[in-house]
Amino acid sequence: MAEVLVKRLRKEFPDGTVAVEELNLEIADGELFVLLGPSGCGKTTTLRCIAGLEEETSGHIVIGDEVMSGLRPSQRDIAMVFQFYALYPHMTVRDNMAFPLRAAKRPASEVAERVDEAARMLRLEQFLDRRPSRLSGGEQQRVALGRAMVRHPKAFLMDEPLTNLDAELRADMRAELKHVQQRLSSTMIYVTHDQTEAMALGRRIAIMNNGRLEQLGAPMEVYARPATLFAARFIGSPPMNLIEAEVTNGHLTAAGGLKIAAPDGIKRGDRVIAGVRPERFTVSDSTSDPDAARGRVVSREALGDETIYVLETEAGLLNVRMPPTARFGEDQVVSVRHEGAAPPVYDPQSERLVGR
């Protein structure tokens, strides 16, 4: 496996669309790296440039210590995994995995050795003589990975491989993929528009928007401190509450008297937007809490393991995540307060983080 560098990548299509602009990424050897963003953000174009399926307008790609400029996909020593179910149904697992090596006319002894090695790493030994249809979804996915692995690629590139699966299977596959990737320490670049998938899988996530890098960080970093309002809106469900507030005496005050702990590095009188995750609010029927705002329950979604409330307050509609034991009814007037340390705050003009 190898590291992958994206240096000052720019991709402009013939119609003048700039898909990727000034993108720099350093993907470490053995890292599962996620490119996340809405459709049209440039994530797939970036992956295709790394794979050699698109030619960069400027900048370059380095895989291992080799500059890839001008090299065809087949010369780059990478494995593209588009969809996990593209196994040959009439072939055994062994033949499926051996296929790329046989196609490349490798000697039989080498084919057998590589297939055995991949089967051992993926714990597929007992399935080698079965057909794919007799395997579970997770096992089929391991076979598809095995088929990519036998070529000893420098990196795996994956473009929304789980998108077409139903929710249940997707959750299974996610854990499976993460397990295998960590056991093998393979370099994997994974494109998705699904923030849950990005969080669950990535060692680091690059959030892209309009062809540019919006934020780069570990899942919990981007969740706790989104760098921009775009990232704040994109990560988390229900979304982060973005609340206009003024810096007053040592805290932030929003409309309706809601008080929120203030970070360092902002000054009294500043107008900011505070980003508060739904689980940082609590709802009560207290009427005397000086830091709380009053609000009316607009909706309550009892999801079983948690209940999501939407409250109408003077500070806007607020999403609040509560344990399932909380029982407030629709239209009930309640108090909502912020709990814990200062949330990230944003400048309303630049839409970027301010303070510490």
Partner: protein, 355 residues
């Protein structure tokens, strides 16, 4: 409580395929009632039978106490909303919403008043002069909804109306639909395969599978007391963990054993232990109710971390706090909340009651 819709003993086959098999439903007046199930469960057929678009092979449909089994769709006075918006492309939102009333030749002043009422209810006053091509998917869905709401039908039937919207909009529209339901106070019968939609909006959920009702109850009842293994794993995300076991004095599985908290099952019967991921904890308080396992994968989701753990030859998911820090291959102990576990008969798959 009076019933808006009662369907009794409905069966319906299409050729050799049985779509509905002796289905009974009782939908209370004014309820937000959700038919939940995977595709092919018979949800849409049920809705179409109730709407009069499909004739059942046997069984009856009563609407507010009156036998409507042979009535035409128009006579039933129900409004349907589908996942495709089916708006007239050349007409404004206002004209689209007004179309059912114009078809009935109501006076113009009354039509205008009704359209205005609906526009206010849906918060789409600003869209009224726009055509569908100038609207987003969410806006079109609201207008389509408006066209149903402008009439004053007995009940609203909705077939996966949010399916084509993106996630953020779907979440928004869920809140919106509950609000609209409350302010109208009318019966909503809503079909979906999305258990989050069902859980978040419904007063009552009927879970359907293969043309049969598996369970009817409030979302909390369905989640906390699933009637069988199938419902237990269909509702809830991550899905309920299942571990095969035998039941005697204790619950014994491969590589684990738990005290039996009072399930009544005689002598060494095979069963399935069901535990939701939030009813497992890596912070072991009660050593007598713990499972040993190996970490398979760790998935941080922000507000929580899902930990996949191998227990014997099975894999389970544990919901842990976001701060949980674990490595693949690490040995862990997970304690089980015995008050919240479920047991299903291995043969019938029905939930086994506690003594």
């Amino acid at each position: 409580m009076t019933s808006a819709v009662v369907a009794s003993g409905i069966s319906k086959a299409f050729g050799d395929v049985t779509a509905l098999d002796d289905l009974d439903l009782d939908i209370p007046e004014g309820a937000f009632f959700v038919l939940l199930g995977p595709s092919g469960a018979g949800k849409t057929t049920t809705l179409r039978v109730i709407a009069g678009l499909e004739k059942p092979d046997s069984g009856t449909v009563h609407l507010t106490g009156i036998d409507a089994t042979g009535a035409s769709p128009a006579e039933r006075d129900l409004a349907m909303v589908f996942q495709s918006y089916a708006l007239y492309p050349k007409q404004t939102a206002a004209a689209n919403i007004a179309s059912p009333l114009r078809a009935r030749k109501l006076p113009k002043a009354e039509i205008d008043a009704q359209v205005q009422r609906v526009a206010e209810l849906l918060h789409i006053e600003k869209l009224m002069e726009r055509k569908p091509s100038q609207m987003s998917g969410g806006e079109m869905q609201r207008v389509a909804l408006g066209r149903a709401l402008v009439r004053n039908p007995r009940a609203f039937l909705m077939d996966e109306p949010l399916t084509n919207l993106d996630l953020k909009l779907r979440v928004e529209m869920r809140t919106e639909l509950t609000r609209i339901h409350r302010s109208l106070g009318r019966t909503f019968l809503y079909v979906t395969n999305d258990q989050v939609e069902a859980m978040s909006m419904a007063d009552y959920v009927a879970v359907l599978r293969a043309g049969r009702v598996q369970q009817v109850g409030s979302p909390t009842e369905i989640y906390d007391r699933p009637a069988n293994r199938w419902v237990a794993t269909f509702v809830g995300s991550p899905r309920m963990n299942l571990l095969p076991c035998t039941v005697n004095g204790r619950l014994d599985g491969t590589g684990w054993s738990l005290p039996n908290p009072g399930f009544g099952l005689e002598g060494d019967r095979p069963a399935l232990l069901g535990v939701r991921s939030e009813d497992l904890s890596l912070d072991v308080r009660d050593e007598s109710a713990a499972l040993d396992g190996t970490v398979y994968a760790v998935e941080p989701l922000g507000d929580r971390t899902l930990v996949d753990v191998e227990i014997g030859d099975r894999r389970i998911v544990i919901k842990a706090p976001p701060t949980a820090s674990l490595e693949i291959g690490q040995h862990v102990r997970a304690s089980v909340d015995l008050d919240r576990i479920h047991l299903f008969d291995a043969d019938t798959e029905s939930a086994i009651a506690r003594r």
